[in-house]
Structure formats: structure tokens, C-alpha cells
């Protein structure tokens, strides 16, 4: 905006109060993460006593040793990577060509196909029919079921389609002059031009896959196939009222609280690592998605 000197005293007060409020909101967003990180590095005794407020008390990495020594933690971590990478690639394999086709004016029944995609954003059959359908398809308790069952998302298709529609016709015409077929036009011209939009969609997929928990919990019974989030829930939610667990750990170097804090930290790290890339793209992506329709 313009120069600060232009503002009256009232404006300056307004600006300062505003900054303070934003700072408070920001701190309250950040604090729980700091608290959890500190908790994970404190001794079980201090954590139980409620002595951890900001920094670790009685610094120890016992909780992490405990978490990392659990085989189920590692297998669920590996599964999460399988679901995230496999699922994202699967999504892109459906979304990119689909969005391209839907963006081409020469496609017959284009309005109908687009409506068919958009309708799923407003109405879906709900939990039970979806679950029964997955069961009937034999996709319960299967890696493939999780990877393919959630591959397509109407919002992502429309976002990418809008971006493709915005690419000037002349690019396509030039490629056609050179004898490119539809696949070559998509792969050699549109995909490189749509990199920001594709990156956005890919990152949306990565985040939702990494965080996905409900359907993994419902569809997977076999413990060796569960992703990290389901394992996390098992530990945090199911053991939180397990008195036996709570009592045995009362005096040890780690406690239920520090162990669950350590798992939380371990599972946030990958998201934090890709967050800078996310940050760069998502606001652009949201804008892209909001331009039309």
C-alpha cells in the first residue's frame, strides 16, 4: 500500500492494534506444535506432572527410542509412502488426460461430461453405498483399493481443466502443424505449460493421501497394511484411556503423553519438509480453481 506518513494518528493506532492481533493469532497457531515438540523431548515424569509449558523439561529422547523400536510404526510409515506416491501418480494419470479432454472445444457432449464431473462435487451416495461398492469390487483390505478408490476428484479436474482452457489456441495449432497427435500436444505442449497447475494438483493429492485416515481405517483390517495415520489413531485414541498402560509407565522415562507426542512429531516431519514447496504453489492453485465456475 501507500506511504505510512499519509496516515492519521487513528490509522496508525489501527495498524498497530491489527498487527498485535495478527501476532497473537499466529502465536496461538504455532504454540501447540512447540508444546508437542517439547513434550516429546521431556521425561515421562515431568510430562505427567504437567511441568512442560514451553521448553522440554528433563531432556530425553527415550520417547523417540520407544516409538522407533516399534515394528508397526515402520511398516505403517512405509505404507503411507506407498499410498501417497502410488495414489498421487494414479490421480495424475486420470486427472491430466481427463482434464485435457474436457478442455477441448471439439469434444462432443462437452457440457454433459463437465456436468458429470461437477455433479460429484455436490452430491455423493454417502458412506455406506461407497463402502458396499468397494466391498463388492473386492477392494477391501487391499493396497490397490486405497490407491485407485480415491484417485479422481472433481475439484482437481475442474481446476486443471480451467488452466488448460486458458492456454492460447495458437500453441496447440503450432504443435499440430508440426504433426503432433493429441497425446503429443498434451505431453509436449500442455503439460509443460501447465506445470504450476499440475504441481498444485499433485500437492493437493500428496497432502490428502498423506493425511487420509478415515477410509484407510474402514477399508483395511490387516495391520500390516495400515498407514501411519491409522497407527497413530490406534496409539493415541485407543490407548489414551487404557489404564494399565498409563500405570505401568508412570515412573518410566517416557509416558503415554511423551510417546504420542513423539509419534506426532515423526509424522508431521515429512509434511513440514514439503511445506515450503506447497506454500509456493497453493495460493496460486486456489486462485486458478476459483477463476471460473
Amino acid at each position: 500500500m501507500t506511504n505510512m506518513n499519509l496516515y492519521s494518528r487513528g490509522d496508525k493506532l489501527f495498524v498497530i492494534v491489527n498487527m498485535v492481533l495478527i501476532a497473537l493469532f499466529t502465536i496461538s497457531t504455532l504454540y501447540p506444535f512447540i508444546y508437542i515438540a517439547s513434550l516429546s523431548l521431556s521425561t515421562g515424569f515431568e510430562a505427567r506432572a504437567g511441568n512442560v509449558v514451553l521448553t522440554p523439561v528433563g531432556f530425553t529422547i527415550e520417547a523417540y527410542k520407544q516409538v522407533l523400536s516399534e515394528p508397526l510404526f515402520w511398516s505403517s510409515y512405509a505404507n503411507t509412502f506407498i499410498y501417497t506416491i502410488g495414489g498421487t501418480l494414479m490421480s495424475l494419470a486420470f486427472i491430466i488426460p481427463g482434464a485435457y479432454a474436457l478442455s477441448r472445444p471439439q469434444l462432443y457432449g462437452r457440457r454433459f461430461w463437465n456436468l458429470m464431473v461437477a455433479f460429484t462435487m455436490w452430491f455423493n451416495a454417502g458412506l455406506i453405498p461407497f463402502f458396499l461398492n468397494m466391498r463388492d469390487l473386492g477392494l477391501l483390505d487391499s493396497y490397490f483399493g486405497i490407491i485407485i478408490g480415491f484417485a479422481v476428484n472433481g475439484f482437481n479436474i475442474i481446476l486443471l481443466r480451467n488452466f488448460f482452457e486458458g492456454i492460447p489456441q495458437s500453441f496447440e495449432e503450432a504443435a499440430r502443424m508440426d504433426g503432433a497427435n493429441e497425446f503429443q500436444v498434451l505431453w509436449k505442449v500442455f503439460v509443460p505449460l501447465a506445470k504450476p497447475a499440475i504441481a498444485t494438483v499433485a500437492l493437493f493429492c500428496i497432502v490428502s493421501r498423506w493425511n487420509g485416515f478415515f477410509w484407510a481405517m474402514v477399508l483395511l483390517q490387516d495391520e500390516s497394511k495400515i498407514p501411519l495415520q491409522v497407527y497413530l489413531r490406534k496409539v493415541i485414541v485407543e490407548l489414551s484411556d487404557d489404564e494399565e498402560f498409563a500405570n505401568t509407565l508412570l515412573t518410566s522415562a517416557y509416558s503415554f503423553e511423551t510417546v504420542s507426542a513423539a509419534i506426532i512429531v515423526c509424522s508431521i516431519i515429512p509434511i513440514l519438509l514439503i511445506y515450503p514447496f506447497l506454500q509456493k504453489y497453493f495460493s496460486k492453485g486456489i486462485l486458478l480453481g476459483g477463476v471460473k465456475e
Binding site: F33, I36, G98, I128, N133, V152, V218, D241, L278
Partner: protein, 334 residues
């Protein structure tokens, strides 16, 4: 075969009829609809090849379950399958509306959504307006980066943080209450605390990220409006009320319509993680009811009926909101 033009020519008129004259040629240059579609498919088959997987996926994973919705009106038996189970009409709906648990879930859904609307909806707007007033770019960027973050953290982790922070022995909330001499409260087992904690968590997690949409809308406001306001001696406060807010009103209304449309879709994943039998009284919503009755309890038909009811009410809500908005503000989703 029918998309092969040679095939069509072969089936055309016999050679002796092919006396060339201008009108005849004119007539032939306008091929039948079938031929046109055939030619089109031959030329553009690659496009359809690209579209088919997506459409098939939608049919298999999203439209086929819509066919399965009919079990809401059937006495569904796993062994007979969807098609062969006998119709029973509206019996499941009658059962639901005589079921205290369902009615409680319905009431809770409405109340929690309403709280979310009252407290949750304005927050991102306020945040966006506040961010817009910050002049120091580095401060603004840093603050935004931090408040967007919780959106990317899974509900399981958020629930884990909430459970840890509100725990009676070690939780920071009770520690802080202890400073004021307040006895520890076992928050997550107290029905009266569930809604504030749930709604508050939702705001903490999403308000920052949702402000992006409004910031984008604010970025689109013409700078000349502000320039002329400065000339007229407007204060920042006045500019916010007289220029920024009216300018982003269409966006606010669209977001409100979407919000109302999703009103019954309270994020039940989080509820499943945070509630327990002690708090069902205030925490159980329609979707968690469906999850317990259907997926855990195996009463698929009854749960599907509850789901259908939910979806229809949601659909009516969004249509109504859109119509009202169209009438009074000329802003609508479609």
C-alpha cells in the same frame, strides 16, 4: 467399423447414380448425423481415449454407489445383494425418526453446524481483512505461512494434539488453569465441553487457510477506488468498511452458499477421533451415527437411509441458499 469412412462409402449409392451435378454434390457434402459422428470419432478418437478412464472411474466409484443408495428403501441382505433384496418402502425412515439416537445425532449436527457457521464463517474474513492492513511484507508473509500450516496437518494429529493438550494430568490447558487455582477438568469426557472444543479446533485449523480465498478477492479490488478514497480523506477503517468489504461481498456470499450446502457435512473424522461414549450426548452427529450403525454395526440399509436423508437435506439447503442469494444479491454459484 461405423467410424470408418470407407465403410460408409461402400454402403453408399451405386456407381450409376453418381451422375455429377452441382445440387447432388451439394447434398452429399452434408453427410448424415451418423457419418458426421463417425468422421469426428475417427479424427478425434485420441481425445475420447483420454476421457474414457476418468468417466469410467466416475461411473465405477461415484455413480455406481448412487445406484446402491436404493438399499435405503430395501430390507438389504448381504447374501441377496442390492438388486434382489425386497423393497420395504419408507420403513427405515420411520425407524430413524422414532430412534432417539438418530434424532439426537440430527440435533447435534444442526447445533454444531450452526456454531461453526456463527463462529467459524466470519473468522477467515476477519483474518483476510486484517492481513490486508499489514504493511510490513515480511511480517505478513511469516504470519500467513504459520496460520496456513494447520490445514495441512491430518485430523488424527490435530486430535492427538487436542487430546494431549486437554488431558487432565499432563495437559497444558489444565496446567494453566492450575495457575489460577482451578481444579483439573477432564474436558474430553464432559459433554458440555465437546462443542466448544470441536468448533474451536476447527477454527484454529482452517480459519487461516480459508482466508486465502478472501485475500485473493481483496487483491482483485481496483486500486483506483482506494486512491480516490485517500484523496477524499478516508481513514483506513472507513476504506475497509466502504470499499474492501462491499467489493468482496460476492465472494463472501458464494462462500456462504458453499458453507450452507456443506452444513451437514461437519468434519466427522475429527468427531470420531475426539468423541467417546461419555460425550455422545452432544457430540454424536449424523455421519458418526451412520458410521457406527452401518460400518461398525452392519445395519447397512438403515445407515444408508440416514445418509440419503443427510444428502437430500444438504442438497435442498444449497439450492435454497443459492436461490435466495440469486434473488437478493445477483450472486450465485450457477
Amino acid at each position: 467399423m461405423s467410424n470408418d469412412p470407407n465403410f460408409i462409402t461402400a454402403a453408399g449409392p451405386a456407381t450409376e447414380e453418381l451422375v455429377f451435378d452441382a445440387t447432388e454434390a451439394q447434398r452429399r457434402r452434408k453427410p448424415s448425423r451418423m457419418v458426421r459422428v463417425g468422421d469426428h470419432l475417427k479424427r478425434e478418437w485420441q481425445l475420447y481415449l483420454m476421457l474414457i478412464p476418468t468417466i469410467v472411474w466416475l461411473l465405477v466409484f461415484l455413480y455406481k454407489p448412487m445406484y446402491g443408495l436404493q438399499i435405503a428403501f430395501k430390507d438389504y441382505s448381504i447374501f441377496r445383494g442390492i438388486a434382489d433384496s425386497p423393497w420395504i418402502g419408507l420403513e427405515h425412515f420411520q425407524t430413524l425418526f422414532n430412534n432417539d439416537q438418530f434424532l439426537r445425532a440430527l440435533r447435534n449436527t444442526v447445533i454444531i453446524s450452526f456454531y461453526g457457521l456463527i463462529f467459524g464463517f466470519p473468522m477467515p474474513i476477519i483474518l483476510a481483512l486484517m492481513f490486508n492492513e499489514i504493511l510490513k511484507q515480511t511480517f505478513k508473509k511469516t504470519a500467513q505461512t504459520i496460520v496456513y500450516l494447520p490445514h495441512f496437518i491430518s485430523s488424527v494429529i490435530i486430535a492427538g494434539i487436542v487430546i494431549t493438550a486437554f488431558s487432565p494430568s499432563a495437559g497444558i490447558v489444565n496446567t494453566m488453569l492450575g495457575w489460577f487455582g482451578i481444579e483439573p477438568i477432564y474436558f474430553l469426557t464432559k459433554p458440555e465441553w465437546f462443542r466448544p472444543i470441536f468448533v474451536g479446533t476447527g477454527i484454529w485449523q482452517e480459519a487461516g487457510f480459508q482466508s486465502i480465498v478472501y485475500l485473493a478477492a481483496i487483491a482483485g479490488v481496483s486500486p483506483t477506488l482506494y486512491e480516490s478514497a485517500v484523496v477524499d480523506g478516508a481513514s483506513r477503517w472507513q476504506m475497509m468498511w466502504k470499499i474492501t468489504i462491499p467489493s468482496i461481498m460476492p465472494t463472501i456470499i458464494i462462500m456462504l452458499i458453499i458453507r450452507i450446502g456443506n452444513m451437514l457435512e461437519v468434519s466427522f473424522e475429527m468427531i470420531i477421533l475426539l468423541y467417546q461414549p461419555a460425550t455422545y450426548e452432544t457430540a454424536d452427529v449424523v455421519n458418526t451415527f451412520i458410521y457406527r450403525q452401518g460400518i461398525q454395526g452392519g445395519q447397512y440399509d438403515l445407515a444408508a437411509a440416514a445418509g440419503l436423508f443427510n444428502a437430500v437435506v444438504a442438497f435442498v439447503l444449497v439450492m435454497t441458499a443459492n436461490t435466495i442469494s440469486k434473488r437478493y444479491s445477483r450472486t450465485s454459484l450457477w
